[in-house]
């Protein structure tokens, strides 16, 4: 019995030991240390933000075109002849002033209705030529051998003088003829009276018929003489007119000769820069062929080909910035002066005409050249005159519409499918205030390129967006737009804003700095 009890006790103890082992195992498993959990409100991501700032931003368009001068003088040779003079400094690129040599020297002034002496026609061709040369000084491009034209002018003037002498002789002749007419009339009257007396005498018989007849013959003779003389007097008027016409004609020829003589001295009709002088001394200049080309750089026009979509935004008066990359980044500012009425279907462009006024620059360059001998308007002076936009240059222009749009600028990469993320306050499950990412729909208007250190020192690609009304979390001035870790964001994600580590913190404020990029901004 005792053995049986002992056995039972042993079994119980054995089972108990097993149970203890199992129990220990169970307790260990049940009290297994849990993997520690983090606080729910801990931010998941540290993000960079920038402050949303509303601004009025213009939209710009870019196009290209070739500049052209609004005033260009292509100077032809007006007379043929041998080029005898060309000032040494008159090469392409030399700035010259315009000269009107037609106003130089005496001209031909004819009397009213052609009557009267032609005193004004007395000119000295050599003196005239000297006057022309004097007037052309500073503007002379080249000079053609003038001796032929000088001779022609002298000859023409001689002919005028000869004709004028004929006119003078006609006057003497008229005077004499008129005196003779008076004598003939007196003689005729004497004869008439003699005849009347003879007839009366005859009738009274005091005479004879033959005497009457003789007397009658004398009267007829006197009458005939009178008629002849009167005819001569009548012919003097037309003759004078003829001679006077001849004088005018000869004077016109002299005038042409005078002009031709003046034309031997070639000047530019406009102030500008010599583009080219085709002749050198010793060469034969043929009348009608170009001698030189002068370009006025003060006003340049550029027909800019903009994308045709610009037609809805660009207007006359919009400012344009023109640049040539190859010219050290030089820029010119101009304004749109007119728009082409129709777009080019082949290039899908619309041409707008931009005018650039370079008067001030030219004046500056002139001052520079005046102060530095050898400087020219065309550049190359040691004084580094302002760069001028030149006709023929190919430029790229950016036209900024004056119509400003009220937008929010955000980094381009921060816009995802017409939405941006903003950091917003929210409450976590325990009611504590936490920062979360919220997706906000926006209307994307256009893109801009240019640095905006006031908004972000790194970005240079921007999107102009406009808040879409009706969003639960709107986008407004002061909103913290998330600009980093965008691929990890989703609506409601717990975030930390502008966490340390030296990450950039935005400094933009609603009254921040002006734009420094190509995307200008006005507030």
């Amino acid at each position: 019995m005792a053995k049986a009890v002992a056995r039972v006790v042993r079994v119980v103890v054995g089972v108990g030991v097993l149970a203890v082992g199992l129990g220990i195992a169970g307790v260990l498993v049940a009290t297994r240390p849990e993997v520690p959990r983090t606080a729910r409100s801990a931010p998941v991501l540290q993000v960079r933000t920038m402050t949303a700032t509303e601004a009025r931003v213009p939209r710009s368009w870019e196009g290209y075109g070739t500049a052209r001068a609004m005033r260009v003088a292509q100077i032809p040779a007006q007379v043929s002849g041998l080029v005898v003079e060309r000032p040494a400094q008159f090469e392409a690129g030399f700035a010259i002033e315009g000269r009107d040599l037609n106003a130089v020297g005496p001209g031909v002034e004819l009397g009213e209705g052609g009557a009267g002496p032609v005193e004004a026609g007395t000119i000295d061709p050599s003196a005239y030529l000297g006057a022309v040369r004097d007037a052309a000084s500073g503007g002379l491009i080249l000079r053609i051998e003038p001796s032929d034209y000088l001779s022609r002018l002298s000859s023409a003037l001689e002919q005028v003088q000869a004709t004028r002498a004929q006119l003078d002789s006609l006057d003497v002749q008229e005077s004499r003829t008129r005196e003779m007419v008076a004598l003939v009339i007196e003689e005729r009257e004497i004869q008439e009276r003699e005849l009347e007396r003879l007839v009366g005498a005859t009738a009274q018989g005091g005479g004879n018929e033959s005497e009457v007849e003789r007397r009658r013959g004398l009267l007829l003779l006197a009458q005939r003489n009178e008629t002849n003389l009167l005819d001569q007097v009548d012919r003097i008027g037309p003759r004078r007119a003829e001679l006077r016409a001849m004088v005018r004609e000869q004077w016109a020829a002299a005038e042409v000769a005078r002009q031709n003589l003046a034309r031997t001295v070639v000047t530019s009709p406009i102030a500008g820069v010599l583009q080219e002088v085709m002749y050198r001394p010793g060469e034969w200049a043929q009348a009608g062929t170009p001698i030189a080309r002068v370009v006025d750089l003060s006003r340049i026009e550029v027909p800019l080909r903009l994308p045709q979509a610009a037609g809805t935004a660009v207007a006359v008066g919009d400012e344009a910035v023109l640049r040539i990359d190859t010219q050290g980044g030089a820029e010119w500012r101009g304004r749109v002066v007119r728009l082409a009425p129709e777009a080019d279907a082949q290039t899908r462009t619309l041409t707008v005409y931009v005018e650039v006024d370079q008067s001030e620059a030219i004046a500056g360059a002139a001052e520079s050249s005046a102060s530095e001998p050898g400087a020219t308007l065309a550049g190359g002076a040691s004084g580094d005159p302002p760069a001028l936009l030149r006709p023929g240059q190919f430029v790229v222009g950016q036209v900024q519409s004056r119509r400003l749009e009220r937008v929010v600028l955000v980094p381009r990469h921060a816009v995802e499918e017409d939405a941006v993320y903003v950091a917003a306050q929210s409450e976590d499950v325990e009611g504590a205030s936490v920062m979360v990412a919220r997706r906000v729909a926006v209307e994307v208007l256009f893109s801009l390129v240019g640095s905006r250190p006031d908004l972000d020192p790194i970005e240079n690609q921007w999107m102009a967006v406009r808040p879409v009304m009706g969003s639960e979390v709107g986008l407004h001035t002061g909103s913290a737009i998330i600009v980093s870790n965008l691929d990890d964001l989703h609506d409601g994600l717990l975030i930390g804003v502008n966490g340390g580590g030296g990450a950039h913190m935005t400094t933009a404020t609603p009254g921040g700095a002006e734009s420094t990029g190509t995307a200008g901004e006005e507030r």
Binding site: R10, V13, G14, V17, L18, V20, G21, L22, I24, A25, G26, V27, L28, V29, R32, P33, V35, P36, R37, T38, A42, V44, Q46, R48, E62, G63, Y64, T66, L306, P307, A309, I324, D325, T326, Q346, T347, R348, T349, F394, V395, V396, R412, V415, E416, E417, S447, L448, V449, I458, Q461, S484, N485, D487, D488, G496, G499, G501, G502, A503, H504
Partner: protein, 1099 residues
């Protein structure tokens, strides 16, 4: 005639064999190739699919899917992974275990060659075997400012190093490729009515040199060819792109900036804040990483004008008049010296990352531990056995190890981490057999046998059990051969080395040891007969009383007392043991002894990977990297900081490099472990704290590089076709992961968010003659550039790239304002032709087995939680997330996959090993039941393994489990010895109880000694503080703890089980036959002949 008898009879042969083994072992051991991990067999084929300028999605659609579809059909394909990024894709095809890679490679090539309808611009697809490139050392040239000079100098260094023998592959980084850059001004194109493609065509036409055939005349043949423009920027500038009337020519120089430049990529390297360029030397094939590193370091020292000391081997060679220079290291040094005299470097040459030092460190460590272990074993044997036995047992161990090195050399096995671990493991085991035999021989001699007879009889008597233990031990390691996955690839070499060592030691034990013991004992007898005593004899005589007290007076009686009580209360004993076992398992299940796949260890290199959001400019990435750099430089533990912006390279050779302006790699070299207080993990934590939360950073991962495996602690793959769904699940899982403390760097590789400017043709564009392709080519030219011509430069191919100036091609806004040309050459604003749409696309696409995969990775602070614990805790959340999205599948990747692969095959392999051990034991003992009783010790011995980890504060790791496999063999060995003697006693007529008691008394000394030597052999490794050892310590703990527990089990539980078995037998007899027998303990030492079992061991 047994081996022992042959050896004793022909001692000269035995001596010759021993010396031959020793000499060969030393020579071949020094020649063994050193590497970190054993070479893994090639099981992957990599298909490189270049498609310059194409987006990942386009590449996926037009190339990758087609290739995957064809490859998938091939036999033995296990996994197809594709990684697609802008400009190209890489497809990795992994084959099943056992598939021969060469035919598989040929098949893949065939399938790829058969592909049709490939995009025109796609470049040639290449197929190759995956050869992991393991970086050995990184050499940096820093401090120079001239990029050209730096590039030229580092190239010269590379060329120098290439001349050295057995130098690995060298890759230069931090430099950019040369190119002739033709940056065409867009305004000039508009002005002259030329398109970019036309300009590129003119360049191509001008630079192409075409052979025009051969003029054959009667006297000679003259080849005719066109003379192309010379390949210099000056000449390229003069290429005529358009000609007008009156001899006006428009040259390339008129419209473009033509210059010799560098490729337009974001690359920036710094070393301690100075601009740097680097070269990385990779170990390839059978090269020795340590030798490579030594040569590079010697060359750098030579270039710096420093002196280096020849090592012992080199001194010896010089003294022997060896050929000058006597080593490759000195040759490299002299080359460096020579070059230093010829040219001056434009900066400082510094070794920045010496990964080969891990190999040296661990090999030194293991060598030291082997030496220390061997010394301790020797000391133990001296104290517990006698001097002669101790000496010859130790000699046997040395001969066995050297013999193993010879076989390893012959078999082409390298000296690496795993083989060294194998050698450490077998130290204790090889001496076990020697101890048993030496002790038996001594006992026979002391019983009065002649030295020769004692040697032969003492050996032959237990030869079979020794063979049995060797066989069981070898079989116990076999499961490692069957392990799958990466761990399996690495561990495969372990059983081979252990097997070799055991077989060599068996030969030594059965052949050489008896000879030496017989000669030694004969000497003793001779001195005894002559009345002489050596100092050894005197020492032995003085030690004998101590041994008697320790063993005979104290240990054996105490054990006998305990054993008797345990046997009398055997059921209670079993209950207590089982309870203990359950409680121990509960410690693991309850997380008191946590399990972690791989233990964290200290390191001297920290690799940081900084990932900014895709599209981040390199300048911004550099800013953040500079912050990290500054914070790291300020830490006293940091020796150097190497920053590489724009490129992230792999330090384990298993993953390809990644490029992009949003990436940066920061490598911190720490002071040596002994020169700092903080471990690498603490350095990382402090660095993280000092950096705080860095805004705008996508991920910043810091990882210790200890030479072992790398990769994220947690890697979860989401597989499916619907990307949106994948991303949705990824968001959920990442959110769930964020709930855990200590989990950081949670990120995914989807890399969505790449802002992509997509353009589509406007409706009216085709009216002008535009097509998607024609506009696309022009836009490609504007952004990427056109490469009309490539020529062979001095050391690399040089492209002529025609593109737009950087200001235009890097600005989307500017790009939109450009013009494209109609076929007639009319310029049209791009915005009027195409519609730009900003969209989000994947910067890279990854695919797994023809589906898209998004991998979520995270790291875990091991001081807070283990990755496995986090994943286990996360499992419900993962299941819920996946259940909500039926199209998404979850696949563990990374170390979780490695673990799953290893564990999936481990149970079956263990079962097979147990079955084989059972068969061996059944054959050995001629019993069905005794092997089962012996094998019972195996699961119970985990008690020691678990408690060992708990006491020493280590986590269980995969290495612990691998140690457990070896433990099975060790535990069985003790039990085999015990059972053998039990059976002998039984056959001698003793009762079961008596046999157990007697066997225990007789064998306790041998069993305890073998266990003690094994444990003491591993003692130095367990006590090792070096970070190099932490990785291995769990295995040593498993073996030591398990063997201690196994010894107790063998000495207590095995006898109890034998009695319980006898109880069962008696119960069966009572029930079946009605015959009652007294209980075993009652029969005392009464002979029961019927209970005697005979087996081969006792024959």
């Amino acid at each position: 005639m047994s081996l022992a008898a042959f050896g004793v009879r022909k001692p000269v042969v035995a001596s010759l064999v021993m010396w031959a083994v020793i000499i060969a072992g030393v020579l071949f051991g020094l020649k063994l190739r050193r590497e970190f991990f054993p070479e893994s067999r090639a099981d992957r084929v990599v298909i490189a699919v270049p498609y310059p300028g194409a987006s990942p999605e386009e590449i996926e659609r037009s190339l990758v899917i087609k290739i995957e579809d064809r490859i998938e059909r091939l036999r033995g394909v296990k996994e197809i992974t594709s990684s697609i990024s802008e400009g190209g894709a890489s497809i990795s095809v992994e084959f099943e275990h056992g598939i021969d890679i060469e035919p598989a490679l040929a098949e893949v090539k065939r399938e790829v060659d058969a592909l049709q309808d490939l995009p025109e611009r796609a470049e040639r697809i290449t197929v190759s075997k995956f050869e992991p490139n393991l970086p050995a050392i990184v050499l940096s040239l820093h401090g120079g400012s001239d990029e050209t000079a730096m590039k030229e100098a580092i190239r010269q260094v590379r060329d120098d190093l290439r001349t050295l023998p057995k130098m690995g592959d060298i890759e230069i980084s931090g430099t950019r490729r040369d190119e002739i850059s033709v940056e065409v001004r867009p305004e000039a194109l508009l002005e002259h009515g030329l398109s970019l493609t036309q300009v590129a065509a003119r360049v191509r036409q001008a630079m192409q040199e075409l052979p025009a055939g051969t003029l054959r005349n009667p006297s000679q043949s003259v080849p005719v060819r066109t003379v192309a423009v010379e390949e210099h920027a000056q000449q390229v500038r003069g290429i005529v792109v358009a000609a007008g009337g009156e001899g006006r020519l428009l040259t390339l120089g008129d419209i473009a900036d033509v210059r010799r430049a560098y490729q337009d990529v974001d690359v920036l390297q710094r070393l301690n804040g100075e601009t740097a360029v680097s070269l990385t030397v990779f170990k390839v094939g059978d090269e020795d990483a340590v030798n490579i590193a030594e040569m590079v370091k010697a060359y750098a020292a030579g270039r710096r004008g420093e002196t280096i000391e020849p090592d012992g081997w080199e001194r010896a060679s010089m003294l022997m008049g060896g050929q000058h220079p006597v080593s490759n290291r000195l040759r490299a040094y002299e080359l460096g010296r020579q070059r230093a005299g010829e040219s001056v470097l434009p900066g400082q040459l510094t070794v920045t990352t010496d990964l080969a030092r891990f190999i040296v460190g661990r090999l030194h460590l293991l060598t030291d531990d082997v030496g220390a272990g061997a010394f301790l074993v020797f000391l133990t044997l001296i104290l517990t056995l006698n001097w002669r036995a101790a000496w010859w047992v130790n000699s046997g161990m040395v001969v066995s190890l050297l013999g193993t090195l010879v076989v390893m050399y012959a078999a082409g096995i390298t000296l690496n981490l795993l083989t060294m671990v194998g050698l450490i493991i077998v130290i204790g085991i090889v001496v076990d057999d020697s101890i048993v035999i030496a002790e038996n021989i001594t006992a026979k001699h002391e019983a009065g046998m002649s030295p020769q007879e004692a040697a032969v009889r003492g050996t032959d008597e237990i030869a079979w059990p020794v063979i049995g233990t060797v066989a069981t031990m070898t079989v116990a390691f076999m499961p490692l051969l069957l392990l799958e996955g990466r761990i399996g690839d690495l561990m495969g070499v372990l059983p081979i080395v252990v097997g070799i060592a055991l077989v060599v030691s068996l030969v030594e034990t059965l052949f050489l040891l008896p000879v030496h013991m017989s000669k030694s004992l004969a000497g003793v007898d001779k001195r005894k007969a002559a009345g002489k005593r050596s100092w050894i004899d005197i020492m032995d005589r003085r030690m004998a009383p101590i041994r008697v007290v320790v063993f005979d007076k104290w240990m054996v009686p105490a054990y006998a007392w305990a054993l008797e009580r345990c046997l009398r209360h055997r059921y209670m004993t079993m209950c207590a043991v089982i309870a203990m076992w359950l409680a121990s398992l509960g410690m693991v299940a309850g997380g008191r002894v946590p399990f972690s796949f791989l233990a964290s260890s200290d390191a001297e290199t920290i690799n940081g990977e900084l990932r900014m959001p895709i599209g981040t400019p390199a300048a911004r990435t550099n800013e953040v990297a500079a912050l990290v750099e500054a914070a790291a430089v300020a830490m006293p533990e940091v020796k150097s900081v190497y920053v590489n912006v724009g490129n992230v390279g792999s330090l384990d050779g298993n993953s390809p490099n990644s490029n992009g302006g949003h990436l940066a790699q920061i490598i911190l070299e720490l002071q040596p472990v002994e020169m700092r207080d903080k471990p690498a993990e603490a350095v990382i934590s402090e660095l993280r704290r000092s950096l705080g939360n860095m805004a705008g950073v996508k991920s910043f991962r810091l990882e210790e590089i200890g030479g072992g495996g790398s990769g994220a602690d947690i890697n979860l793959g989401l597989v499916g076709d619907d990307t949106e769904e994948l991303l949705a699940v990824a968001v959920e899982i990442k959110a769930a992961l964020r709930d855990y403390e200590g989990v950081f760097d949670i990120t995914d590789d989807a890399e969505q968010g790449q802002r992509e400017a997509r353009f589509t043709l406007r409706s009216g564009a085709s009216e002008l003659g535009f097509t998607q392709a024609s506009v696309g080519e022009q836009v490609r030219g504007m952004v990427y550039g056109l490469e009309p011509y490539t020529f062979a430069g001095e050391r690399e191919d040089v492209d002529v790239r025609v593109t737009f100036p950087a200001g235009v091609r890097r600005s989307l806004g500017d790009l939109e304002r450009q013009h494209v040309f109609t076929p007639e050459g009319v310029a049209v604003p791009l915005g009027e032709v195409v519609e730009f749409e900003m969209a989000e696309s994947f910067a890279s696409v990854r695919r797994l087995n023809r589906e898209r995969i998004v991998s979520i990775t995270a790291d875990v602070d091991s001081s807070v939680a283990s990755p496995e614990a986090v994943v286990a805790d996360l499992q419900p959340a993962l299941d819920t997330a996946v259940a909500r999205h039926p199209g998404v599948r979850l696949e563990v990747r990374g170390r979780q996959k490695d673990m799953a692969d290893s564990f999936s095959s481990l149970p079956l392999a263990m079962l097979m090993a147990m079955a084989m051990i059972y068969v061996i034991l059944a054959w050995l003992f001629g019993s069905y039941t005794q092997p089962l009783l012996i094998l019972t010790n195996v699961p119970l011995s985990v008690i020691g393994m678990i408690w060992g980890h708990w006491v020493l504060g280590f986590e269980l790791t995969i290495i612990s489990l691998i140690g457990g496999v070896a433990l099975a063999g060790g535990v069985v060995n003790d039990a085999v010895v015990f059972t053998e003697f039990y059976n002998i006693n039984r056959r001698a007529g003793m009762s079961v109880f008596g046999s157990c008691m007697k066997s225990g008394r007789e064998r306790i000394r041998a069993i305890v000694l073998t266990t003690f030597t094994t444990v003491i052999g591993m003692g130095p490794l367990i006590m090792e503080q070096s970070f190099q050892a932490r990785f291995l310590i769990p295995m040593a703990i498993t073996l030591a703890g398990g063997l201690i527990a196994g010894t107790l089990l063998t000495l207590i539980v095995l006898p109890a089980l034998l009695l319980i078995l006898d109880d069962a037998r008696r119960l069966g007899r009572l029930v079946w036959r009605g015959e009652s027998e007294p209980p075993a303990e009652a029969s005392g030492l009464v002979v029961q002949p019927s209970a005697v079992a005979a087996g081969p061991g006792g024959a």
